[in-house]
């Protein structure tokens, strides 16, 4: 049985890596991957707390499964957008894709 604080530190580290990737990386694919890291960090937390609380209906695990499914869908859409951007602009550098402004 792994102790809870260890798991939480691991999860926080994983999340921070994800945040860093989302905020600092210029490659859109890497940004998407970093989002996956953040989601997985959340999953780890959910499973860990579910174990700790000895939840009889395993709500934490079930919720983690849902997150994985949603993440898959989200990555599908995200990659489709990335591909469309690439087709239009010949680049996937996020700095050059500044469409969301005035």
């Amino acid at each position: 049985m792994i102790r809870l604080p260890l798991v939480l530190f691991f999860s926080a580290g994983l999340f921070s890596v994800g945040v860093y990737g989302v905020l600092a990386r210029r490659n859109a694919v890497l940004v998407l991957m970093s989002i996956e890291l953040m989601l997985n960090a959340v999953n780890v937390n959910l499973v860990a707390f579910s174990q700790l609380l000895r939840d009889t209906i395993l709500a934490g695990q079930v919720f983690a499964l849902f997150v994985i499914t949603v993440a898959a869908a989200e990555v599908g859409i995200g990659l489709a957008i990335v591909i469309l951007i690439y087709r239009n602009r010949e680049t996937i550098n996020i700095d050059e894709v500044n469409l969301l402004k005035w």
């Binding site: 905020l23 940004v31 996020i94 500044n98 969301l100 402004k101």
Partner: protein, 657 residues
């Protein structure tokens, strides 16, 4: 006039309550024609005809009230008050009113039907019918008015209508000049009339005619005031009824379309003056006796000079116009004989309306056919225009006083009353005028209908809308005289229209014979001179006298030089002065004020309004300029904001917890 406000003076209003409807109908039709006439088939003419036709039927109902001696009735409603003075809007219906209602509606109906043919294709056909309706309504208002103010309203409206109708073909300067002349000349008479009304209101404290009559009967008014009132009222009658010296407008009024002449000279306008004298007769009778002598003098003068002028006219309508002046003078002279002549004078007004309308409409039919007013371009028309000829002949005979036609009974009554009342000068002049009347009518008939045709083209009989009214009026001209045929002891008319006891003279065959012989003599002379057409009028042999008549006694020249021109010059100078110094000054002051004000407004506009708006806009732009840098379009920067926000929230929440 609601039933609650009814005040029947002498008896229940009963059927006479219809009288005011008779008056209102043409006024309503005026508005309807003006508003909708042009869009209706027939130009709205039928509205006027139906209105006055219904009016005629109701008038007959009203008149039937007086057959067998109905009482006079009054209906009224408050109009407005000035201090203690109460002015009403109402009707006073006695026999005279009822008779006048019938006359006005009959003649107006004939004229309107006739105009369907005569005015067909006229550019202002609809407007013509509208004004004819208004004219009829105004006259009816004069007739039924129970107070002097209401009477004055109708009286003045008629002046306006006469102006509009005489100037109906205003494209020609001459016509609009005549219209202005008619309006202004009658206006001159209206001023004393207005003051006459003031005098009576001041003297009696009311404008109500029956009350004034009652006050006079009770001896409440001093004789001096009455004398002044009578003279001033008569001034109005002189203007409207075209008596010497204000008769000059009437012949010029011939510039209007012929149906208008018929309406003005038979039933409305000119009849109003005589009617006024008849309505206010107690004022005249109770004034100083010399007032009636003065009236008689005016009547006698006018009767003779107008008849003489009628002799030499070439324009057929002018013959009839002067004849109208002369016949009106008969009525005035009849009334001037006092109570005894009251019925006679107004009976002549009654009969004259029919045959003079007939003559005018007949002359219109002739003019319609030959396209000229001048008798020198007519002649021989009895063959192509038989209906017009026979009706015109009946009218002429009636006017000349040939028994048993209408004119004979009324004229003979005036003449014999004049003798009976020992007004021998009036009697003599009336007799001479009767001879001259017969002469000029014989002349007109001979020049128009006999001999060879001297005009252009081929005249044809007029359409049925024109001949129909002629036949109706000719029939009436034959029969209406018998309403007061004293020879057969028929005195229906004098039962309706009388003053005081209303005793009437027995028929005198001697006087009748004298007037008939006089008329026949006139016709004989006319036949002698005009049976054969001569290029040169035989009357020119009169020399200077002819010139005097031709120039209308130089009256027009005297008026032009002595009155019109001096007033014109002074008036134009005064108008010029007031224009430059008063009106311009006012206008300039207004303009200057407006400019100053606009300057002030400009400053406020620029300094306050504009600046406020600009500042607001600038501030918004400035803020936006700063804030827009936040929205860089860089998704990762947005994400940074998001995380920072979340962290701040987390910190905030943990601090509060």
């Amino acid at each position: 006039m609601v039933a609650a406000a009814e005040t029947a003076v002498n008896g229940e209003a009963g059927t006479t309550a219809l009288a005011w409807i008779v008056t209102v109908l043409p006024l309503v039709s005026f508005f309807l024609i003006v508003l909708f006439g042009k869009r209706l088939p027939g130009g709205g003419a039928w509205i006027g005809i139906v209105a006055v036709g219904a009016g005629l039927v109701m008038s007959l109902v009203v008149l039937s009230h007086f057959i067998g001696g109905g009482e006079a009735t009054e209906l009224s409603e408050d109009w407005f008050r000035v201090g203690d003075l109460r002015f009403e809007l109402g009707q006073y219906v006695d026999g005279l009113t009822a008779v006048m209602l019938v006359v006005v509606t009959t003649v107006s109906l004939c004229v309107q039907v006739y105009s369907l043919g005569y005015m067909r294709g006229d550019a202002r056909f609809t407007w013509f019918y509208a004004v004819i309706s208004l004219f009829t309504g105004s006259m009816l208002n004069v007739v039924i008015a129970n107070n002097l103010l209401q009477l004055l309203v109708g009286w003045e409206l008629m002046g306006v209508c006469s102006y509009l109708l005489i100037g109906h073909w205003w494209e020609e300067k001459e016509n609009s000049d005549s219209a202005i002349k008619a309006f202004i000349t009658t206006r001159i008479g209206d001023v004393p009339f207005l003051f006459g009304i003031f005098v009576l209101i001041v003297a009696t404290g009311t404008a109500n005619i029956p009350e004034i009559t009652g006050a006079i009967g009770g001896g409440a008014i001093s004789r001096g005031l009455l004398t002044a009132g009578a003279l001033l009222l008569f001034g109005g009658a002189i203007g409207k009824s075209a008596q010497f010296p204000l008769h000059v407008w009437l012949p010029d009024a011939m510039a209007g379309p012929t149906p208008v002449s018929a309406l003005i000279h038979a039933a409305t306008m000119v009849a109003a003056g005589v009617y006024l004298v008849g309505r206010m007769f107690s004022v005249f009778v109770n004034a100083d006796p010399w007032v009636l002598t003065f009236v008689a003098a005016i009547g006698a003068t006018t009767m003779l000079i107008a008849a003489l002028l009628a002799m030499i006219q070439d324009d057929i309508k002018r013959v009839l116009a002067y004849s109208t002046v002369s016949q009106l003078a008969y009525m005035v002279a009849g009334l001037s004989l006092g109570p005894a002549g009251y019925t006679a004078g107004l009976f002549h007004l009654f009969t004259h309306a029919f045959f003079k309308a007939l003559l005018f409409l007949g002359s219109g039919s002739v003019i319609h056919a030959v396209h000229s007013n001048n008798m020198s371009e007519m002649g021989g028309l009895r063959r192509p225009m038989p209906v017009t000829f026979w009706t015109f002949l009946i009218g002429s005979a009636a006017l000349s006083g040939i028994p048993p036609l209408a004119g004979f009974w009324s004229k003979d009554e005036i003449i014999s009353t004049a003798f009976h009342e020992q007004h021998y000068i009036v009697w003599g002049i009336a007799l001479v005028t009767a001879v001259i009347t017969a002469f000029y009518m014989a002349r007109a008939v001979l020049l128009t209908f006999f001999g060879e045709y001297r005009g252009h083209g081929h005249p044809h009989e007029s359409p049925a809308t024109i001949t129909g009214p002629l036949v109706v009026l000719a029939g009436l001209s034959v029969v209406v005289g018998f309403l007061n045929a004293t020879a057969f002891d028929v005195t229906l008319f004098s039962e309706w229209v009388h003053f005081g006891e209303g005793e009437h003279l027995p028929f005198n065959y001697g006087f009748a014979a004298i007037s008939v012989v006089g008329a026949l003599a006139g016709i004989a002379v006319g036949y002698r001179l005009y049976a054969r057409w001569r290029e040169r009028d035989p009357l020119r042999r009169l020399g200077p006298a002819y010139t005097l008549l031709e120039r209308k006694y130089f009256l027009d020249d005297v008026y032009l030089r002595g009155v019109v021109r001096p007033i014109q010059y002074r008036a134009s100078a005064a108008v010029n002065w007031s224009n430059r110094f008063i009106l311009d000054g006012i206008v300039h002051t207004f303009a200057w004020t407006a400019r100053q004000f606009s300057r002030l407004v400009e400053v406020v506009d620029r300094r306050v309004v504009d600046r406020g708006v600009n500042t607001a806009a600038g501030l918004t732009g400035f803020t936006g300029g700063i804030l827009r840098y936040i929205q860089s379009g860089n998704v990762q920067r947005y994400a940074v904001f998001l995380f920072v926000g979340v962290i701040l929230l987390a910190i905030g929440i943990s601090i509060r917890a």
